[in-house]
Symmetry: C2
Subunit: 286 residues, 2 copies
């Protein structure tokens, strides 16, 4: 496995791999790899000949009050996990390599970025789109793997690829969970044991929503109210949003008459967790 920090060197390695007829897969990450990332890497490994993991804590997607400085960066450990999972190349640039001057050009998405996670994180998805566009242009992958856990990010990246005619396939990968159901996240490590226990209410609320859909409930406000009640039973929670939206353009829907994304973001103390499920009222299973 090779490790690069320079764009130029990275391009050379990829050029060689392509010249050898290999298909290129990318798993973009901010490091602090966990089983969720490893699942993306394994899926990518199955689909591509040459697997690249990018590790870059992207400053332009953090707000001024967010956790950029304290975001975990266990680089040696991340590289070991990549090596153990058959990664061919880790691309881990410094911020100065990715943003050598003040960024004045942005890729931005209308509408999709304004609500859900975008409402409490203004500019977040502009930063995500811009850095992912940069990574795609540097790495020119055939396939890039993204987790369904970050459902809004996935929807926006798909729109970006379609809207800018980027020539690659976006591969959505299922959310990986702890045995008790908590969705894996690098931010879970910020939780104390009480918060960790209370965090299970996210999936409990989503499961309740799934049951209500399966039982024929199509009023999204009724579903959201039931979810809210489950979350608010836990004293350390603060709801950022609970939303039911169409899974393409992420617009809120009032009646569940088509497949939809049920997504929520909840603070546990200072730590913000997200989770989601996709429901299809025509196919009434969670």
């Amino acid at each position: 496995m090779e490790i690069t920090s320079e764009i130029k060197k990275t391009r050379e390695i990829i050029k060689q791999a392509k010249a050898a007829g290999k298909t290129i897969g990318l798993v973009p990450t901010m490091g602090a790899l966990h089983e969720g990332h490893l699942s993306l890497i394994r899926i990518c490994r199955q689909k591509c000949d040459f697997v690249i993991v990018s590790i870059f804590v992207n400053p332009t997607q953090f707000g001024p009050a967010e956790d950029l400085a304290k975001y975990p960066r266990p680089f040696e450990w991340d590289c070991r996990l990549c090596r153990d999972n058959g990664v061919d190349l880790v691309f881990a640039p410094a911020a100065e390599e990715m943003y050598p001057q003040k960024q004045i050009i942005w890729v931005d998405v209308e509408t999709l970025g304004d609500h859900l996670c975008g409402a409490s994180r203004p500019g977040h998805f502009r930063g995500v789109c811009t850095v992912v566009a940069k990574l795609f242009n540097i790495i020119t992958p055939d396939i890039a793997c993204f987790g369904q856990k970050d459902a809004q990010q996935l929807a926006i990246i798909r729109q970006m690829v379609r809207g800018l005619n980027m020539n690659l396939e976006i591969c959505p990968c299922p959310t990986v969970r702890e045995p008790d159901g908590l969705a894996l996240s690098s931010r879970n490590q910020y939780l104390d044991s009480q918060q960790r226990q209370q965090a299970l209410c996210l999936l409990q609320a989503l499961r309740r929503a799934g049951e209500m859909v399966a039982a024929g409930q199509s009023d999204t406000q009724a579903i959201i109210a039931a979810m809210k009640e489950i979350i608010e039973r836990q004293p350390q929670t603060r709801i950022d949003y609970i939303s039911i939206v169409d899974n393409d353009l992420l617009q809120p829907i009032s009646r569940l008459d088509r497949p939809a994304l049920i997504a929520l973001a909840v603070y546990l103390g200072p730590t913000r967790l997200i989770d989601n499920i996709i429901v299809d009222p025509a196919n009434k299973s969670l």
Copy 2:
């Protein structure tokens, strides 16, 4: 020479050219080709093995009050000129092929797009950046040629390529002029004979500015005032802007202490013409 209107077919042809080891050059145009475009094509022909001219009147860069509908589209003639000048492929998509659904993802540039032509054409450069990003992603050229006449567009495209790590070279090409000095433009054909004559004042003003710089004048306001006087002598002119800016980020400068772009836009009746020169006070020639 091949002519395509579909993105998929275009990609296949380019893939074959690349597999044959050919370098790919792109000249993006809105058609209505004139000697200025042909000069870009010839420069591209010298630099690349496989030359593609895109012909697309991009709706997203026209304002609601602008001339999208009446923009000239002499397609057969354009194709003949391309063929005569050694073009390998003309890519001429319909608007529905480039924008199959409402565009919600945009490439946009801070600051550079707000003044000069951007001030009177809000959204123009967002449309330009977005369509050029799309064309670059479809065609994946090694080199793309742009005219120095559209100096702000050139500066913005260069920033886009740098800021999004696009892997191609932007080749700036000199402005081509009529024998009497008028910069070639598809919009020149809108001028009646009186306006055509008066349009010479754009270059006269730029030449006067060059002379003043050569004579040591470094006060940009004095230069602009002299240019303004030359333009306003012609009764059918209306000045949109006369600006002296640095040639990288296009910020206005008050003293000419480094190379700069002197640019202007002037209406002749309803027709808006632009022109520019680059001056270097250290090297006092026009």
